[in-house]
Symmetry: D2
Subunit: 258 residues, 4 copies
Amino acid sequence: MGGIEPFVEGERVLLRRREGDSFLLTLAPGPHPVEGKGVVDLTSVIGRPPGVVVPWAGSEYRVLRPSLSDLLGHLRRKAQIVTPKDAAQLVGMAGIAPGDRVAEAGAGSGALTVVLAYSVGPTGQVWSYDRRAEFLDVARRNVELTGLASRVRFEERDVGLNGFSRSDLDAILLDVPEPWTVVDHAMAALRPGGYLATYTPTYNQLERTVRALRTARFEEIRSVEILERALHVGEGGTRPEFDMLGHTAFLTGARRVG
Amino acid sequence: MGGIEPFVEGERVLLRRREGDSFLLTLAPGPHPVEGKGVVDLTSVIGRPPGVVVPWAGSEYRVLRPSLSDLLGHLRRKAQIVTPKDAAQLVGMAGIAPGDRVAEAGAGSGALTVVLAYSVGPTGQVWSYDRRAEFLDVARRNVELTGLASRVRFEERDVGLNGFSRSDLDAILLDVPEPWTVVDHAMAALRPGGYLATYTPTYNQLERTVRALRTARFEEIRSVEILERALHVGEGGTRPEFDMLGHTAFLTGARRVG
Amino acid sequence: MGGIEPFVEGERVLLRRREGDSFLLTLAPGPHPVEGKGVVDLTSVIGRPPGVVVPWAGSEYRVLRPSLSDLLGHLRRKAQIVTPKDAAQLVGMAGIAPGDRVAEAGAGSGALTVVLAYSVGPTGQVWSYDRRAEFLDVARRNVELTGLASRVRFEERDVGLNGFSRSDLDAILLDVPEPWTVVDHAMAALRPGGYLATYTPTYNQLERTVRALRTARFEEIRSVEILERALHVGEGGTRPEFDMLGHTAFLTGARRVG
Amino acid sequence: MGGIEPFVEGERVLLRRREGDSFLLTLAPGPHPVEGKGVVDLTSVIGRPPGVVVPWAGSEYRVLRPSLSDLLGHLRRKAQIVTPKDAAQLVGMAGIAPGDRVAEAGAGSGALTVVLAYSVGPTGQVWSYDRRAEFLDVARRNVELTGLASRVRFEERDVGLNGFSRSDLDAILLDVPEPWTVVDHAMAALRPGGYLATYTPTYNQLERTVRALRTARFEEIRSVEILERALHVGEGGTRPEFDMLGHTAFLTGARRVG
């Protein structure tokens, strides 16, 4: 998503004001309406490199290629989203690499979908399953916002009942209330050496999931929780921040070997 | 690094025994000496898919495409290495995507180098700088072990003194004792929108680094520490593990905008 | 503060409504005005045991001997207070026992003063120093609210400048911005074997304090932070709470030996 | 346990060498054998104040009144013991005050018993129950080592089956595998306003205990875990320690009100 190549028409760009608001837009010639901000004309940006400044609405905006953090920051949230710390850890636990074929269930609000689409790159592919059409719609719209829609296929499907209908997946990520119902289907859908990673808020879900993974003969089963504590570097001194999120979920990684 | 395509000659593969030892080898016809284990012949594996079983030394070994975790698990350690939890978080904080151009200093033992090479994929590029030739040698050998050497260029260079000699980097990761000496050079080497991420074990280093980042007009400066706590799912019940690593380092992310 | 002996006149009691409000009052015959609640008559409670029920304002209130938690819950807060987790740890680190002579500086809002007065019991004694008269006033009023005022002597005094004017203290607790200015005075004021405990929010204060303690030849120097994470036991399962206080202060204990 | 009054015969004292070993002994005239160290004569210490120096075995030893930490450091451990951080928190959660009547089950190795005996002071009383005679023996011997035996009564009794046979207890602490079997007995044994505190290593035990407390109509039910993280203040900088205990137990406090 990076590089210093000049901007091209049709590319998703970030307009960003110092210490201020920011917008995720598609680069196109001519004036473009922006919700609540009037109209912006980015014609002059086409062919210019990242970092170019555009005057708009009395301020100066930098135009950048959006980072993953920019993309996630502009999603429309309708559901609890997986935090960046957990998303980074899940991608690591699942060993996701550029070019990978990855499935997730459920789609949630599409935040994890975006992380996966970003991580597999243009040569990879993401399948996002949910049995609830309304969540798929939210996720699909969010992924479209980010410009990564070509990497993702959404499917309305209950993977606990019907499985994944593939057997070559490099990784599967589960953020569903009953991951243990999906474990056998995941084993069938992963290639040998592929990883399953699950996200379970309660210890009860964790325990039942891990036991199902053992029964299904998954290997390299490992469960962790990731605590993120921010640091405050102030004039008067440095200390951990007072605010902290005490819990999100327990993360479990497991591998299909045989 | 995944897929179910048949194995090809020259590919790096993992031989793995259930609940046992594992080996990272290059696939080639004919017998191959393995340190401390005699000789293995993987000729029959060429053209077969991942998951194939090879009898060896009285046991059965599965042949898999190695995951990032497999690669990291087979490094020869000569220095304190960045843990997977921190590596995953640094990759996330630095917004690293497939195809990215990324620099790191220092090279350490090459563990973070491997994570970066894995994350940028075959279309990306990693520059690894260290002023100490002996660390570069360790890192280079470790990266060669993983089969990712074509993605990495090692350079003996003191980036605190001499900078990065590029100005199009998508991300820079610093694991050096005095990151504040590198901050201005990093600003010059990053593309607009690119990220710097630093790894500092002490509060003193963190504080001095963040202050240098502010002076250099980096934006989106954010410091965190990541605590990983493992969970034990046993017959008698589920609880956090007693063993825990209490500290590794403070991680700081910052962005060049203008 | 416990026991099942009948209530006596002049005793501080807690009126407590199930899942509702509670009041800390002094037991006396006749009607008693309660701010914002009208008048209560506790005459009938005198001579009855803890747990007796009093009808009041359309509800039933239990009358109990107040616990430390009740006392702290009824303080009038004017300053950041030391949390119960830290107070418990400080009392433990300072080895405070019934009958002890303990000093604190500063007085803060009197919350730690109350914990100390509670912990040393009726045969102990607490000295509370502050150089700011307005804090001493708040602390004194809060301690009076709890009924423990006879155990505490408040003194307007800058212990960094003027020291403690005693040399037989069992323990000293410091919650001041510059504890390192008090370290030598604390050494002179403690009995051999007595403990100093400090409460410092930033790592900079912690570092400077520990170095001063070493210079002053304190022994058994130990610094910790205490993280409290609450657990949620719900119908749908059990998990850590989402809300968590990420930081309060670093606690250091040290002992005068020689 | 403090004060600067001169040492008296029969008192328990600590002999302590700077950066070296230490011994808990009973003060008596004449030579006294010390396991593995030969013989010490403390006759001259009687009538002298704390801090006096005794030459012994080629070194100088200070004689001090032992602190709680000294007492706990000299126990003979036969079982996993409750850590000081948890003991301090349990004493706080249970609102234990000087003079209190407190019960515990089981006796464990007597470490928590010593903390309780120390905290209730000479006017308080501790009952320690265990159904296993061998644990009671260990705990009794450990309490005798500390000189606090007069404050503790040990009883071989299964409180899950037979209850506490009292109804005036200020606090009850449970460190047993199945606290839920004791909850109704605890309700009957506590005075109105008294607290129960439990120590449970697993989530499963925590969940079942809290549900039993709700059924038994305990109030102010609150569960936490306490994480202690040590700080390292070194020449090169300050940071959290690498070593950390990841888990001990979940602590639950609850109150009998009616």
